[in-house]
């Protein structure tokens, strides 16, 4: 299983294995990583699973679609590599990826 590192805003790091086909959001929820709220459970409707992909990995992850972009546009703090983690499906190529979580999801 690909290993993904989640870094909370306060610096706490989680190194977890996430099954291929799961989303980056599910990886966080299954490991009780608090920085992802995911109110809607992964339907791209609530914008509470925001994460910032480490720039080194942004090419592997790819870009947000229009729907996701509209939500991301409304964030108070959006970074160039911001994504909604429910829309990022984990692949073998993501083994070793690092994602950072924002101070707040609201």
């Amino acid at each position: 299983m690909p290993a993904i590192t989640y870094i909370e805003f306060d610096g706490t790091e989680y190194h977890v294995d996430v099954a291929v086909g799961n989303s980056v959001m599910e990886g966080a929820l299954n490991n009780m990583i608090d920085g992802i709220v995911a109110e809607c459970g992964g339907c791209c409707v609530c914008c509470t699973c925001h994460c910032m992909i480490d720039p080194e990995w942004s090419e592997v992850v790819g870009e947000a679609n229009d729907e996701e972009n509209e939500l991301l546009e409304m964030l108070d703090v959006r970074e160039p590599t911001s994504r909604l983690s429910c829309q990022v499906q984990v692949t073998d190529e993501m083994d070793g990826m690092v994602v950072r979580l924002p101070e707040s999801q609201y």
Binding site: N30, M32, E39, C40, G41, C43, C46, C47, E67, M74
Partner: protein
Amino acid sequence: MEVDDHVVIIGASHAAVQLMISLRQQGWLGAITTISDEPHMPYQRPPLSKSYLDGSVEADRLVLRAAETYDKLKVDFKLGCKVTSIDARNKQLNLDTGEKIGFTKLALCTGARVRQLDLPGSELEGVHYLRTMDDVKAIRQSAKKASRAVIIGGGYIGLETAASLTKLGIKVTVLETETRLLKRVASEQVSGFYKRLHEEEGVEIRLGSKVVALQGNSQVRSVVCDDDSHSGADMVIIGVGVIPNTELASEAGLVVENGIVVDQFAQTSHPDIVAAGDCTFHPNALLKKSLRLESVPNASEQAKAAAASLCGIKKAYSELPWFWSDQFDVKLQIAGISQGYTKAVVRGDASAGRSFSVFYIKDQYVIAADCINRPKDFMVAKKLILQQSKIDVAALVDESSEIKKLLINGEQ
């Protein structure tokens, strides 16, 4: 709190899962047991009428958390058994298996059940309600051999089901007793839009239609209305709302109104019992009233407050309610509760296309919004409601003006 303390959770859905996670995060060291009358590990309910029904998602993708997560949480699941009574004085639960389980603290996440219609013919094969995964498994079975379906009830569940069955190639008729769809919860503009959407997709919508009987010979074949009309059907899905599961609480002497009464800390009238989710009647400081909500975000957020209470921490729950619905290629996002609005204004064109928002205004303040394929409007609406400042309606409905500008600090 002691290691030999024991929290028992009744229910194993969205509220229950968040509650057990929050208990551990807040340092609960004792045992946690969750009891559910369903045989399944916790699963997501919102997709049941949407992607799970239309087959685009299978059951293994509905799990709320991976099995290993519950191992890490050290939660004991008792599935497929029912709590028959709560002995609040002796802090003990009686199960239908004859077993008795003691608790130090109890959490009621009992949810809601479908409201049943007392119709002649309800027992016929092919007649369904929709609440649980097993309900939808049965609906999917029926759908395999059906060419015509009748949905009784034009609320969100009925309409989502109509859309999902249409995707499966089934000819669908929706029967609604009211004069418009979604009458209890939406404005005329939104009701009118959903009627148009469904008709454009080939669904027949019949308003003012009261069903009096289901007919067939073992298998349902037609639905009879009070005007004596017959609608042919190989399957029928009834979606006429839910009833909160409050009986265990009221029999145990807890205060119950339209739901189990809790305070902002999810505390019931019993000091060792909390409740969270669809089953609760709770105060909301933002809305300045008490209400009962059928909503996943509400279940999860209220469960966090309930877990805190059980750990002796005061964490008030007061969130802006929000909801969503997927039908065909339309994503509806609802912010706030529109009840009591004095004016509904539209940003965009409700009469054509599939993208607009309705803002509900009361005394110059935005109190709610229905956003149709407009995620940006939804995000702004939530902030507009929370910022509680008078709204410039002319700017709100002016599509040439960026909606973000209406926010205080919107220029940032």
